[in-house]
Amino acid sequence: MIILEKGKVSFFLASRSIIRGNKGITTFTILVMTLIFLQIVLFSSILGGVTVQFNKLMVDYQTGNLVIEPVENEKYIEDTSSLQKKIEGLPEIIGSSARLRSSGVISHQGKEVGTVIYGIDPGDESQVTHLESAMLSGEFISCPDRGEIILGREVSGGYGALMESKSLGGVEVGNTVNVKIEGVNREFRVKGIYSTLYSNTDSSAYINKADMEEILGVKNRANEIAVKTTSDISEEDARMKLLSLGIKEEIRTWHEFAGMLKTIESTLTMLRNAFSAIGLLIAFVIIFVVIYVNIVNKKRQIGVQKAIGIDQKVIVTSFVIQAVLYAFIGITLGYLIMHYIISPYTIVHPLQIAVGPISLILENFEAFSRAALLFLAAVIGSFIPAYNLSKKSLLELIWGK
């Protein structure tokens, strides 16, 4: 008898068992498969959402889409105003922000915090990042403002700062802080306190670029220029466009800029895979138990089938097909629930987590790879008990001897 004909008998037995078998067991098994699939992809989606949110925070509050840096061995980009004009002439560029960046020490009432301080043109910065909308208290600095500073909540303290003890311990808007940059001490009035949830930005401070130029003794220079592009162009294509303008400085996409984030992302990916593996192991055990109980209940039927000459492989295959059909229905239901209910719901009502709102997006590759692993679990989880049982003697199967 050829394999195809044996397969037909297996499929015949499996389909009849699913359609006409115990409805409760069928429903329960499919429900278990659906929940396992959802559990695996939900957790994965949450971690995936966290990664996306981390990246989004960095793009929205620090790097923009591209970052131009000085050529090697140079500290500054020269003649930034001309360069910015050139860049902003491209239709794909929304804006650019030339920043002076320096480490400094901010002190207030005996407490001091070492931090990175940026000198920015507030108008330009608002074209690139959403810093202006991240104010918790006070206001964003404006172009004519001099001697004013905005502080991230990790610097000011209060407002739910994560590292309160390392902050200035609760500086408020209107307070005066002392800022020391490259040996120069200046007093600044705190104009605003912000929180972006992006820890690098929240641990920084911003002053007007004119103040920074004065302190550093430079003019029309920058340590970096953050560039915001339109959404219809990829970062790599935008980089090529800028290079075609003859810009000799280093142009990096935010991906290259995100050293720390990559570490976090790879950690999250590792976690995601580890939890998926645990989820799959649990899935395997549950599938094994559900199918094992189902098969043990059919011990005598297996014996009768063997007695009347049904091939052991046909019997085992019929149980594997059943499990795969259960898995197929369960996974399909899980996918539909995720795709048409959970994902759209979390897009409208994002989950609020520490790094901000996240939506649960199910990527097809993710869904298919997890589904494939669940199918594998169903095949192994059904094959082992079916094989072990079907190889028992007929006396044991039929009469329990």
């Binding site: 008998v9 039927q301 063997k306 007695a307 000459g309 039929i398």
Partner: protein, 230 residues
């Protein structure tokens, strides 16, 4: 009781023993049974409870492996067969009727009967025609698509007989086929056996403990304490 003069022997056993182990206790269910069953014979194996009659039937039907001795069916020494070969042999040459019918509850009457034929690789048309014919011959023409749970015990046993006979086996084995039936249904089943035995020359080996069943069979083999009663 045994007549060895006829040459057309379908089953021959030679000194078959079967020992079961229950913990450390050795139970000798069969203590060396030798006999011959002729082609076309309707034989009843009788004996009191624990006499070894069902154990002996299981050896004849290749459902169990004797501790020693040989079972030869249709001139083939079955002791030399692998489990897979025995399965294949059962599929093509033997039919079984169990005390509790042993139908697959998720299959209709005709599907239960079709199953061994499907396994034999018959075409859909072939197996459906054969299954319908045999179900009609056992008087279930109006119950082809009925499920076992909707049938009486007698009807289920008739489906079981149809399943056992659909592939025209060389030997039909029946283990107390009437044990769960009332006397009317029992008579109907025995008459069916008799009909197939006479009309189709079907060899039947049946285990029973009812003395009145003797009137339907050609020969009675009596077992006592695992040996043939002389």
């Amino acid at each position: 009781m045994e007549n060895n003069t006829k040459s057309d022997v379908i089953i021959e056993t030679k000194d078959v023993t079967r020992i079961f182990y229950m913990g450390e206790v050795e139970v000798k269910a069969l203590r060396g049974v030798s006999l011959k069953i002729k082609r076309g014979e309707f034989v009843a194996i009788m004996g009191s409870s624990g006499s070894g009659k069902s154990t002996f039937l299981n050896q004849l039907g290749l459902l169990d492996i004797p501790t020693s001795g040989t079972v030869i069916i249709n001139s083939i020494d079955t002791s030399k067969m692998s489990e897979k070969e025995k399965g294949n042999f059962r599929l093509h040459n033997l039919g079984y009727v169990f005390q509790d019918y042993a139908l697959l509850p998720e299959l209709s009457a005709i599907e239960n009967v079709c199953l061994p034929l499907m396994m034999q690789g018959k075409s859909k048309e072939e197996y459906q025609r054969a299954a319908s014919a045999v179900l009609i011959s056992v008087g279930l023409e109006d119950r082809l698509d009925q499920f076992p749970s909707k049938m009486s015990g007698g009807q289920q046993q008739r489906v079981s007989i149809a399943r056992a006979l659909a592939h025209k086996p060389r030997v039909l084995f029946a283990d107390e086929p009437c044990a769960n039936l009332d006397s009317l249904a029992s008579k109907q089943i025995l008459e069916l056996f008799r009909k197939f035995n006479k009309e189709e020359d079907q060899t039947i080996v049946m285990v029973t403990h009812e003395e009145w069943h003797m009137e339907y069979v050609d020969r009675v083999i009596r077992l006592k304490d695992g040996v043939l009663e002389s």
